[in-house]
Symmetry: C2
Subunit: 343 residues, 2 copies
């Protein structure tokens, strides 16, 4: 079964005109008589004519679509960010093709290949937790694909970046713990390669340093799969809670990690915040309803998506190569709740 749309040729045949005349009539060219225009326009409307975007893409060498690569749609941060991207894309006449890496390097490479071969006009990407080699992205960028790095940014020269101040976010969260009387704060971070991980861990370390708390290297944990696997978090928590010197608070550096830790604590009957304080990075809109209500660092995901899309589309539509590259860094918000209450 196939969906057969009416073409300019059909209109031409039906009205005894040439395709060029019909094309010009539809585009309201001055070279076409008003009567012919009316005839064509009426016939087109009656038969619900829509120009074939594929033919246009082929001719114009652009597809009016942008690709988005994220690790996972079913993640509040990314779905909100995609919402932002979509809203801008819609306004500007682009459509959005989404690809997921599932935090898997191979899948990221093939997804990028896929987007490029689907002739998107540009790509907004956030790298997977497994990605330490960026050549697939760098090569594509070098070959002229329009790209904006987003959230988990890469340090290419001359590329638009949109992210949040992860250093400050972690610094504030850690300081919040310290101010509330926590002494031995652990940090469960994402994969070590990621920009967000490095920045958050740095912020965490800096906060300890500035408050004269010695850093215990054992207190820093990394999740190679970004917490996508529950077992990953279980192993870490087993270690943390069975060590000689147990941490009294945990800074969880991603949505998944945060909820996994909460689930672990529930399963093990560890009470938050009594036995363990918890602050998590999360964009879920019901963290206030959790037991206990969760102190979170939230990111302006929708806004980040909008900005990234605006930068990308501006780049796509720019006549001359862009010289000035933006490094947009937005602020996060710390919502203080029960999970990190004063000791």
């Amino acid at each position: 079964m196939k969906f057969e749309a009416i073409t300019i040729k059909d209109i031409a045949k039906a009205l005894g005109l040439s395709t060029s005349t019909v094309s010009r009539a539809l585009r309201d060219s001055y070279e076409i008589s008003p009567e012919t225009k009316v005839k064509v326009l009426e016939y087109a409307k009656e038969n619900n004519y829509r120009p074939n975007p594929i033919a246009l893409s082929l001719k114009e060498k652009r597809s009016s679509s942008i690709g988005v690569l994220v690790c996972e749609i079913a993640n509040s941060f990314f779905s909100q960010a995609i919402n932002g991207i979509e809203s801008v894309a819609q306004e500007m006449g682009y459509n959005v093709i989404i690809a997921q890496s599932k935090e898997d390097f191979e899948k990221e490479v093939s997804s990028i290949q896929y987007l490029a071969s689907r002739s998107v006009d540009g790509i907004i990407f956030s790298v997977s937790a497994e990605t330490s080699d960026f050549s697939h992205l760098q090569n594509l960028y070098a070959r002229g694909m329009n790209m904006v790095s987003f959230d988990r940014v890469v340090d290419f020269e001359d590329i638009h970046k949109v992210s949040v101040d992860n250093y400050k976010a972690a610094y504030e969260a850690t300081t919040h713990f310290i101010n509330n009387g926590y002494k031995d704060i652990a940090c469960v971070a994402n994969a070590a390669f990621l920009s967000i991980t490095k920045e958050r861990v740095e912020g965490y370390k800096a906060a300890l340093r500035d408050h004269n708390i010695p850093l215990n290297p054992n207190n820093i944990y990394y999740c190679l799969h970004g917490g996508l696997l529950y077992e990953e978090v279980v192993d870490i928590m087993d270690d943390a809670t069975n060590r000689k010197e147990k941490p009294d608070a945990i800074l969880a550096c991603s949505d998944k990690i945060t909820t996994s830790i909460m689930r672990y604590c529930q399963n093990k009957n560890l009470s938050i915040p009594k036995q363990l304080g918890l602050v998590g990075f999360s964009n879920l809109d019901l963290t206030d309803l959790l037991a206990p209500s969760l102190t979170v660092v939230s990111q302006p995901a929708y806004e980040m998506g909008r900005i990234a899309a605006e930068l990308l589309i501006k780049q796509i539509e720019s006549k001359r190569p862009i010289k000035q590259f933006e490094d947009v860094v937005l602020a996060t918000e710390l919502h203080q709740r029960a999970s990190s209450e004063k000791r």
Copy 2:
């Protein structure tokens, strides 16, 4: 700036061959000598040749892409369903274009227009809460677009449908309330037009009837915007909790409605389940961590997405028009937790 990919023409020119020879060599045609094939293949590989899918689409009259229309990506049910759709699409060589209606009729119409004009090969759709007129969908289907109705299904003749047994889900949830000693159970449903709303309300009514509980019409509430607006739920809850005869339990028929009610209760210091029992339809994976842990009806969203995508792609690739239309109805799961504990 534009991303210029290498074409078959470039290869032909470089090797002193014709485009047809190159094309056939790439497709490993028997008409091409082994030496030429090797030359072409090597050159193609070195220069990272990828066939232009747009040109192919134009020629083949198919785009190898499917459209998905949902009300909202940032909704656990739909993002899981999209995951299912994506996984099948990937396997079968299709890409997915997502459009959101945001529960808005106008936006749904324009999104459908958009998908159709983007020449997708088929569409999986779940109608918006505002949609009572289905002609935009029916017309498109009549004109030959491959379509699968999903979740919030429509009652067209001869169309694949994938949904859950909403009647039974609501029946079981209501019965669960009754068995736990609740007497006056209200139902906060989605927009009245929706198939899921009708079925869930019917299941709710049937459970009451079967347990000889008289139906109080005031106990059925509808959310025109599907709970997307918090105020909508506030108005309903204000009414329900200030009536003379106040319900002692609420069946919340969507994710958003459920969390909105929880938030309302928290704001108003209404204790769940002491003052008000709550069961909600939800696909969030942390409802067990809420305060109180939430009794939910969960849907096999991923599986639904997979099935819908399989049906659609089978239909797209079928040579002859499909005669046999599936009406797949999957089972939901009731997870009993604290929010609906025995009175």
